[in-house]
Every structure is written in C-alpha cells, then in structure tokens.
C-alpha cells in the first residue's frame, strides 16, 4: 500500500518502471518491483550508495576497531581483528602459564606444590626438568603472540593504506593507532592487574601470591589491550570528526 502523500502517479504505478528503487520522502519506505516495501533503518554514516559502512567508536558490524569497510575488504578486517584479540588473550594465558610453572626460583610439581630450583623432584612431584620444559614452551608461545600482534597491526596498516587510495588516511591511521593502543594498553593493564592480583592473592596464603598476580595480569592485560585499542581508534575517529 502506498503511504500517505503519494502522488496519483505513484498510486497507480504509472511513474516508476518495474524494478526501479526509489527512496521515498518518509525515509523508511521504497518503491521496488512495483510494490511498497518498508525497509529497516540502518546505522549508516557513510554514503550508502557507495556500499561503504563505517563502524562507530564502540564497534558494531564485523569489525570491533571502528574501521571503514568496503566490499570484500570488510571481511578481512574483521578476521584480523579477531586474530589480534585471540593473540592478546593467548599471550596473556601463555605468559601466565609460564609464570605458574616456574615463578622465579621455584618450579611447580605435579602435586600442585612449588619447590626450590635446587631440588630435582621425585615420583610424586615429577621432574624439575619437565617443569622447565613446559615453562620453556610457554615462553616461546608468549614471544610469538607479542610478535604476531605487532606484525598483524603492521599488515592492517598496509591494507588500510591501500584502502585509502595510497594515502595515510582514516583506515591506515585507525589500524596503526588501534594496534599501538592495544599493545600499550595491554602492557599497562597487565601491570595494574598484577598489582591488584597480588593484593587480593595475599589473603589466600603463599599460593595466592603466585596465582593472584597471574590472574590479575591476564584480566588486566586483556582489558587494557581491548580498551587501549578502542582509545586509539576513538582518537582517530575524533580527529576525523566521526
């Protein structure tokens, strides 16, 4: 049914050919294939005719880092954001596991108790070398996650630069500042979390002194990384008035 205010031609379908799409004056309906159809309002801030969608400061759409997306590139952006997020979480967990297994001058036995490095272990605790090997593997994984986060950030900047038509525009800036914010935020968040975790863990006896900072580092590092990335992108959005 034609909304109120339609011309006689619209009502009798004389004006528009079959298949034509016309945005009407009420903003929520269009004439398509000879029928009136109510369309949903979409949170587009860019030019919808170009097929460009821009996410807001607090995310939305497939990308959580507020990047301008276009066509198939949008899929790639969302994928790498997820990869970065997974790496952030993975890095924190691997770092935590490594510290759990070998915190300073001690190592974690199979029975869940900590022993001094000078003692080699027995059939109940497992071997010291086994604990060292596990910690070494976690150390490798921790390095890899930090390195890959930086690399993915650089790759996103390259792709953003290409999307901006060979200029260091919105997309490239968003990727670069988002990654920098994620790394700095994660670093600072981990420190804050470690301090808080130690404060809380101290009330759970000596094991809490190890577990507390670890849990704090994971939560603080993840939260700090996430909000650091958001702040980095928010600053770029603010600069561009978006």
């Amino acid at each position: 049914m034609c909304p109120n205010g339609c011309s006689e031609g619209e009502k009798t379908k004389d004006i528009y050919a079959e298949g034509a799409v016309v945005q009407n004056r009420f903003g929520a309906s269009q004439y398509k294939d000879g029928k009136w159809k109510v369309i949903e309002r979409t949170p587009m801030t860019g030019n919808s005719s170009d097929g460009v969608r821009i996410n807001g400061f607090f995310g939305g759409g497939s990308s959580s880092f507020g990047q301008q997306e276009s066509g198939s590139q949008a899929q790639g952006g969302g994928g790498s954001d997820n990869a970065k997020l997974a790496l952030d979480i993975g890095g924190s967990i691997y770092g935590a596991l490594q510290t759990t297994v070998r915190p300073g001058d001690q190592w974690l036995g199979n029975n869940g108790k900590y022993y001094n490095n000078s003692w080699g272990g027995n059939q109940y605790t497992g071997s010291r070398s086994g604990a060292f090997k596990a910690a070494s593997n976690y150390k490798w994984a921790g390095r890899a996650t930090v390195g890959l986060s930086a690399l993915i950030g650089a790759a996103e900047t390259v792709n953003g630069y290409q999307k901006d038509g060979g200029q260091f525009g919105y997309n490239a800036q968003s990727a670069a500042f988002g990654t920098t914010g994620t790394l700095i935020g994660g670093w600072a968040g981990a420190k804050a979390g470690a301090s808080l975790g130690l404060g809380v863990g101290a009330w759970f006896g000596p094991p809490g002194l190890i577990i507390g900072p670890i849990v704090g580092t994971v939560i603080g590092g993840f939260g700090g990384g996430y909000y650091g990335g958001q702040i980095g992108n928010g600053a770029v959005n603010l600069y561009h008035g978006r």
Binding site: G91, Q98, K139, A144, L148, A154, A155, K191, G199, L209
Partner: protein, 162 residues
C-alpha cells in the same frame, strides 16, 4: 654470522632493559600500588614476610622466564617480521598484506630469532656479557637499538610509498 648474532642479541638485551626500566618507572605512578599501603594489607605482607613491589619486580626481571624477557623476545620477533614485510613492499611483492605473506614474514623472522637468539637460551650468555657494559658502551648500544627501530619504520614508510 657472529656479527649478526651479536647485533640481534644487543637489540634483544636493550628491549629487555627498556621494558624492565619502564616497569620500574611505572611502579612510581601505578595507582594500583596504593592497595599495598592499606594498613590491613601491610599487616598481611608482614605476616607472609614479603615486599609486594619486590615480588612483582622479580616476576618481571627474571632472565630465564621473566615477563620483560618474554616481551623483549616478542618485540624482537615483531620488529624482524615488520622488516620483512617492509622489504616485500619495497620490492612490490604484494599490494594487500594477505595471510600467506603475513605467515611468511612470521616464519622468516621467527626462524632468524630462533637461530641467533632463542635457541638453547643462548641469549643468557650474551646477557651476562652485556651486563658488564661500560657507560659508553651502554649509550652506544642504546642509540644503535633506537636507530635500528627508526630504520625499520622508515623502510616500512618507504614500502608504503612504493
């Protein structure tokens, strides 16, 4: 080869030192450390016989498994990977950095870092040597590290422009 190994270990050591020094600096302004000044927290630490700040510092400083060492290793790996990414761009190998290229950069840089720095924890031998640097050597190597980072970023910028 020996020169490359020494150079990469110098970078790794400087990243480690920079991260630990930043950690010590952040201790001075970390508002979450105020929790340790609360009277009931202080009493708890005294009962356990620990200094909370020193306990956290130990976790960061440890050369074998410390957080600063892991972060330094990650930054070295990432910097090397960005160097390869930049070289690929300079030689017009790709336009968009897709997954295979990212993977190639990660593997190449990881391999080099493993061979020259991480394998059998050979960096510890270098760390012990570098701890004895004179003030002039410290300054020289700090500038060398900074210059290397700037060079990588310049190459990355050049790669974008080509």
């Amino acid at each position: 080869m020996k020169k490359i190994e020494n150079y990469l270990n110098v970078l790794h050591f400087c990243f480690y030192k920079a991260d630990y020094k930043l950690h010590l600096l952040s201790n001075k302004i970390n508002p979450f450390h105020l929790i340790h000044k609360l009277p009931f927290q202080k009493r708890r630490y005294e009962k356990l016989g620990i200094d909370p700040i020193e306990t956290i510092n130990k976790v960061y400083k440890n050369k074998n498994y410390g957080t600063s060492m892991v972060f330094a290793g990650g930054i070295l790996w990432g910097a090397m990977a960005i160097l390869f990414l930049s070289l690929f761009m300079v030689f017009n190998v790709f336009v968009y950095a897709t997954t295979p290229y990212i993977f190639a950069c990660a593997v190449l840089s990881g391999g080099i870092c493993y061979f020259f720095v991480f394998r059998n924890d050979k960096y510890i031998k270098y760390f012990d040597k570098y701890e004895k640097w004179t003030k002039a050597e410290k300054r020289k190597n700090t500038w060398l590290t900074l210059a290397s980072l700037v060079a990588i970023f310049l190459l990355f910028y050049l790669g974008l422009k080509t």
